[in-house]
Symmetry: C2
Subunit: 324 residues, 2 copies
Amino acid sequence: MKIAVDVMGFENPVFEAVSACEKLVKKYSELEIILVGDESKILKSLKSKERIEIIDTKVFINQSDEVFTAIRKKDSSMSLAIDQVVNKKADAVVSAGSTACYVALTYSKLGLIKNISKPAFTPLVPTAKGIPLVWSDVGANKVCDENDLVCFAKLASVASEVILDIKEPKVALLNIGTEEYKGLDFIVEANKILKNEKKINYIGYLESREILFGRTNVLVSDGFTGNIALKALEGTFKAVANQMKRDFKKPSGWLGALFSLNVVRKLKKTFDYKNNAGAIVLGLNGLAVKTHGSADEQQFISTIELTIKCIKDDLMGKIKKIKF
Amino acid sequence: MKIAVDVMGFENPVFEAVSACEKLVKKYSELEIILVGDESKILKSLKSKERIEIIDTKVFINQSDEVFTAIRKKDSSMSLAIDQVVNKKADAVVSAGSTACYVALTYSKLGLIKNISKPAFTPLVPTAKGIPLVWSDVGANKVCDENDLVCFAKLASVASEVILDIKEPKVALLNIGTEEYKGLDFIVEANKILKNEKKINYIGYLESREILFGRTNVLVSDGFTGNIALKALEGTFKAVANQMKRDFKKPSGWLGALFSLNVVRKLKKTFDYKNNAGAIVLGLNGLAVKTHGSADEQQFISTIELTIKCIKDDLMGKIKKIKF
């Protein structure tokens, strides 16, 4: 099993990615890694080259680069890492670089599987129940129709079976109400189609206020709506955390902070978007996984372990068997 | 100044609404109230009838009633309360009943002001800065075009001047990014028009993760996107509050709970959606204000005081002067 890892273009030093890979190679005897990035920096962080190859490039895609800039940087670490999957030299690619550029580059290089018209950017989102939510799509496609939503549902349903190790995962459609007639036309149409899909355990509409309560395993939305909802969740956590930090710093608050440390820590752990396992670009002819732009060693480990699980359990093979 | 208050069809007893009205009549010498609802229940709660009229009806709209059911209930407390504004017997109407039914009934009975094609359901949403956000629309219209968004921006800008007592309120468009080209076509078009509107202090796009940070006074969105984002905020607060409650109940958590009570209380106070001042249905030929379905006396007081402010500062007169 071989994974190409883009070790540049994220907010932390190359070290965080390299160290994660070295630890994982020790842990998984069947794992080989191709590190793609500035070799001089990689070698400074690397203790052993056992089962580790390096592809040297000093070009990388910035978090702020536009897609057209990313496409022009043909020798970027992200681009060369994706090429390893295109050329069958790796089973999967992992990157912490710009999401928009990663979706665009994996899409254009790997191409879509048959009968699908759009890829779905599918993160694993933490919920109050402890089991992450597999959410397709949260930003790859701003305009979708009912058929796209049905494809996302099929892809994410199979992905969640593999990722969460469950049978017949629950699948819901994000909407503004639970009544059949509510919502935009293409969502109402997708609801009708999904109700007749026997291979999907479809449970109907889910309102955005229910997203974090673990009532579904898979959430389906167009990329615009998904992006709006996901960022609203993120912003609310940030606002709550900021205010608590500020108030605990006051003389009247520090004793509370001391005694409620565990509660606050647990809260952070349960809902921490930065510590989730990553996201998969579903619908492509190849396994492309993304970790957070501010990933540290621990998050690289989580994301690469997710990737290992997807390879071991043959996610790509299972996706290819879906009838679209 | 006369306000018609629908005292039925919400989650709490009639008493909560009646008691709020009685207190406000004592506080504001120019205030008269028309209580609309079951007279026998109202009289049980009412100590003095000074400057208070009663319109008796036992019919009311349930929170779960569909709009077509609400329209058929011609003698419902909500319907009769709105009629007071239609017949110029009251300056405004306040209800805690079903939002969908209230928007539909106020729309059909009061009608839209000239050159507007849709009403905007516009709540005041608490932010981390303490100043509420005036947000148009969060659910009245699931499909909007660029001209609707521009109308919402104009209406909410004037409303926020009155409600927040500020000059040149900042106005932003809800979107998935801050780059000019990002987002759905009608949002991109609305952005172009708003940039040239000299009477609006337009600051550009706002991402949903920024909503709670007080960077704008007015937020503009189509009703579908607004509803998705607002309910995502609500759900996140609920998830955080639930988990904290659970963890503080554990033996290891109760000491923390004791010492951090103030912090948690303040958090609840800052972001409590149930304690916000309410919402206005903007764009109608008459002032229609809505309070939360689970409103208690205190929230009725906040919402009716908001209504008093809008009447005193001539919100309707100012809206009629807008060029649409």
